[in-house]
């Protein structure tokens, strides 16, 4: 392996041509599947999770279509239960948890550090393989009877249903290891491989996002692992820890599950917030406002995330005091979240805002995440939660945060780094149209669900009262608009791979290090050793119309002195 990269290393020095890149240094499927290159692993992850996203999206559209009319529309009640479970499980475990860290993070993190790879490349590949194996187990469950428990696998139903719970949970268990390995790798890489000049508080904020995410991945995921293992043991052997018929306690399962799964929603949102910080600064062409506050708030959210799991269980018979404490802690999560939002707004203030596609997603995020976050307070308050618990209000809140937050930021990041990943620009006009459709479709789909929920429409129901019909239909129409938006997006992104204009090294005018190498980067990432400066010092760049990209005013400012490497 070392020999391989050395030859590549030699080649890069002479060949600055666009054609020589990590995409072309090996040929054939095996050169991808067994690569240790973080960029290739990131791209494989990207393909894999986008495939999962497509699958989960199809399930979602089927669920929405079924709900067009009360009673049966296109599938039986049993099929419907399986469908929404699959939608949830695929979207959460296969798409959104690995989404930003494993796909975008893997690609960008070492580049942002000016490094050649993550610290533990073999573990990185192992993580990808575990993801694949976990995905196979999860998807095999569809063939052997699917799962109808909802993505939370609550006991005692999950220990008694006849559906393929073991296959699905085993898949999720393995996916958990994939997630742990990615997180572990990122922590080590950020600790040990920062370049000269990059102190902790000179890291790009995306790295702070990934770092705090990684902490949660490492500390929370093992608990999910043991929980699912216990659930499997419960079903396979009847160990009785969760099964009330054997003397066990099903509520213990809920505690275990949410001890992971609440932090898990921050695994999803924190890297999204990291992307937001990059986009806000770059597309406002202005230094980020309140760097330290944004960095610390990531860590604060990571810490709070472990202390609020009980707010999923307000109606499970917890003591009043416990509920009160969890409620108060839940409210306090709003503080670091709001700190971030205000800093992003302040970054835009008097900036020179460029409404390119990534920025459109960033602005959508601000709007949608604000709604998602604030409705979270309704659910964190004990009195209103009892009313709203298990209604569509919860579904809408969750989707506003996870879709309106994480997925939108993921799309922003995807459009932002797309030129770096593949060396091609996509059609800006189509991208803006897709962003608009996604925004409109999303709000139509989920805002109606807030209304339905507050009127008492319970979540996960197959049938409903006549009075909810128009809400459900509006929501379904919205989901079709959303689907159309993604269809268009797939079209122009795939088109760009073949016909897109060549991208310059730095098409957006960003000052982080990943833009200092060619697009797409060579296999060894950089042909020179870099030192890091302020990652948001956008004044140090100027636009060069000839290459349609930005260049350093002083190109020597980031190059390490020859032989000066420690």
């Amino acid at each position: 392996m070392a020999v391989d990269t050395l030859t590549v290393n030699g080649a890069v020095g002479v060949d600055h041509d666009h054609r020589e890149s990590y995409l072309t240094t090996g040929h054939g499927i095996l050169s991808w599947l067994f690569t240790l290159d973080h960029k290739r692993i990131g791209v494989m992850y990207l393909v894999a999770i986008l495939t999962s996203f497509f699958l989960g999206g199809v399930f979602a559209l089927l669920v929405r279509t079924e709900l067009l009319t009360p009673g049966q529309t296109i599938m039986t009640a049993d099929a419907y239960n399986k469908m929404f479970t699959l939608h949830g499980a695929v979207m959460i475990f296969l798409f959104i948890i690995p989404g930003i860290p494993a796909a975008l993070g893997n690609f960008v993190l070492p580049l942002m550090l000016g490094a050649k790879d993550v610290a533990l490349p073999r573990l990185n590949l192992t993580s990808f393989w575990f993801w694949m194996i976990g995905a196979v187990f999860s998807l095999v469950s569809i063939i052997v009877g699917a799962v109808d428990t909802g993505w939370t696998f609550y006991t005692p139903y999950s220990t008694t249903t006849s559906t393929a719970v073991i296959s699905m949970t085993l898949g999720v268990f393995i996916l958990g290891f994939s997630s742990i390995f990615t997180g572990l790798n990122f922590i080590v890489t950020i600790h040990k491989m920062r370049p000269e000049g990059m102190t902790w508080f000179k890291m790009p904020l995306f790295l702070w996002g990934l770092y705090s995410t990684a902490i949660i991945q490492v500390l929370a995921t093992p608990v999910l692992g043991i929980t699912l293992l216990l659930l499997i043991a419960e079903r396979a052997l009847g160990v009785g820890i969760f099964d009330p018929t054997l003397g066990g306690d099903p509520v213990l399962y809920q505690h275990f599950f949410w001890f992971y799964s609440h932090p898990a929603v921050y695994i999803m949102i924190l890297p999204a917030m990291g992307i937001m910080s990059e986009l806000m600064s770059v597309f406002s062409h202005k230094h980020i406002f309140g760097y330290r506050f944004i960095a610390w708030s990531s860590i604060a959210i990571a810490i709070f995330s472990f202390l609020v799991w009980g707010h999923h269980m307000f109606t499970s018979g917890q003591s009043g005091l416990t509920n009160m404490i969890f409620s108060a802690l839940t409210f306090s999560v709003a503080i670091p979240s709001a700190v971030k939002v205000f800093n992003w707004l302040a970054t835009m203030y008097k900036g020179s805002i460029e409404l390119a596609a990534p920025m459109l997603y960033a602005l959508s995020f601000l709007f949608l995440f604000a709604i998602g976050g604030l409705t979270g307070l309704f659910l964190g308050a004990l009195s209103t939660d009892v009313h709203l618990h298990d209604t569509y209000f919860v579904v809408a809140h969750f989707h506003y945060v996870m879709f309106g937050g994480t997925v939108i930021a993921f799309l922003g990041g995807l459009h932002y780094w797309w030129p770096k990943m593949f060396g091609r620009m996509y059609s800006e006009r189509w991208a803006q149209l897709a962003a608009l459709l996604v925004f409109v479709g999303f709000n139509l789909t989920f805002f109606t669900q807030f209304v339905m929920g507050s009127h008492g429409m319970p979540r996960r129901y197959y049938n409903y009262l006549e009075e909810f019909t128009r809400f459900h239909q509006a929501s379904t129409v919205g989901s079709y608009v959303l689907g159309l938006g993604f269809f268009i997006m797939a079209g122009y992104l795939i088109h760009s791979l073949f016909r897109g204009e060549r991208a310059s090294a730095n098409p957006w005018g960003a000052a982080t290090l990943e833009w200092e190498t060619s697009s797409p980067p060579p296999a060894n990432n950089f042909d020179r050793e870099l030192i890091a400066g302020d990652p948001y010092d956008l004044e140090s760049l100027r636009y060069e119309p000839a290459i349609k990209g930005w260049v350093r005013k002083d190109p020597t400012s980031i190059v390490a002195a020859e032989g000066g490497a420690t």
Partner: protein, 315 residues
């Protein structure tokens, strides 16, 4: 840049993306420590389950631990602590490039691991013979213990016991059957609390109802159930079998089983080290791998020490 390729030429153990051997070693070490933290949290779930059930039902732990063999547990503890010593010495040997000694110590550690598993096998097979298994397979038939509650008051128990052994159950196999056993074994104390009635349970008519009641989740009872159990559960010696005694054995098998899997994992890792040693990988003083496996093995030992204290040595 020039520095990298320079180093890489000289040190075949240095991966291309690291600047120095020290950076590489520190990265591996940090990674290992984080991995060990995840291991602790992985077991942490079981420790929490243990704490929850022990604080809600201390009597079943007091009762259950009498069936564990302290002698064998202590023997295994000593074996593992000794193996911790040998692997630590192995790291030292690798650092000093004493490859022969390294091989010897690795073999010794592996041997200890096998002794541990052997002793565990003896323990497990005794449990198996006496039916002291996890909840759904729990069917005790120890000659001197466990008969007491059955010999007691009325035939409802006997009937329930019979059904526990023979009846085909509606739910998942033996699960419901064991419920019956658990429910009836505990009628003395637990059932009254569940139902809130003052009626004497155990008459044939109420027996099915008793079974129903045992379906109520434990959380619904809370620790309040303990007070009423005090009368029957406070024994110095092995006394009447408390309700839900099967949970102790579930936890015992889960914790020691998961630990056993980790011991097997350790054996595999050490066999790999042994192969590396014979291949000459450590001749150049590159001891990172030995160090990492040793760290893992220490954690496996440490977890056992806690298991020994929490499961075998209860007062």
């Amino acid at each position: 840049m020039a520095g990298h390729s320079h180093d890489a030429h000289h040190d075949p153990d240095l991966a291309h993306h690291f600047e120095s051997a020290d950076q590489q070693f520190q990265s591996a070490k940090l990674g290992m420590w984080i991995f060990l933290a995840t291991e602790i949290l992985f077991f942490g779930g079981l420790f929490v389950a243990y704490s929850v059930y022990r604080s809600n039902h201390p009597e079943i732990f007091i009762y259950g631990h009498h069936f564990l063999d302290k002698g064998l547990g202590a023997l295994n503890t000593v074996v593992l602590i000794f193996s911790s010593f040998t692997i630590a010495w192995a790291v030292r040997a690798a650092q000093l490039r004493q490859i022969k000694l390294l091989k010897l110590l690795l073999v010794a550690t592996i041997a200890c691991a096998f002794v541990f598993l052997g002793v565990k096998y003896v323990e497990y097979s005794t449990k198996w013979k006496h039916g002291l298994l996890w909840a759904s397979k729990y069917d005790p038939h120890v000659e001197d213990h466990g008969e007491a509650p059955h010999g007691g008051e009325d035939e409802a128990h006997g009937a329930a016991e019979m059904s526990a052994e023979t009846a085909p159950s509606e739910g998942n196999g033996g699960a419901a059957a064991a419920t019956t056993a658990a429910g009836s074994a505990g009628t003395e104390a637990g059932a009254e609390i569940d139902s809130g009635t003052q009626e004497t349970p155990g008459t044939p008519e109420t027996s099915p109802a008793g079974e129903e009641r045992s379906n109520i989740p434990v959380a619904a009872e809370g620790p309040g159930g303990l007070a009423a159990d005090d009368g029957t559960a406070d024994h110095d010696e092995v006394g009447d079998e408390p309700r839900k005694a099967q949970i102790f054995f579930s936890i015992y098998f889960l914790m020691t089983g998961l630990h056993g899997i980790h011991v097997i994992g350790g054996i595999v890792a050490m066999l790999w080290l042994l192969r590396c040693a014979f291949r000459g990988d450590f001749d150049g003083g590159h001891f990172t791998r030995v160090d990492m496996v040793a760290l893992y093995w220490h954690v496996v030992d440490l977890i056992w020490i806690y298991l020994f204290l929490l499961l075998y040595l209860i007062h």
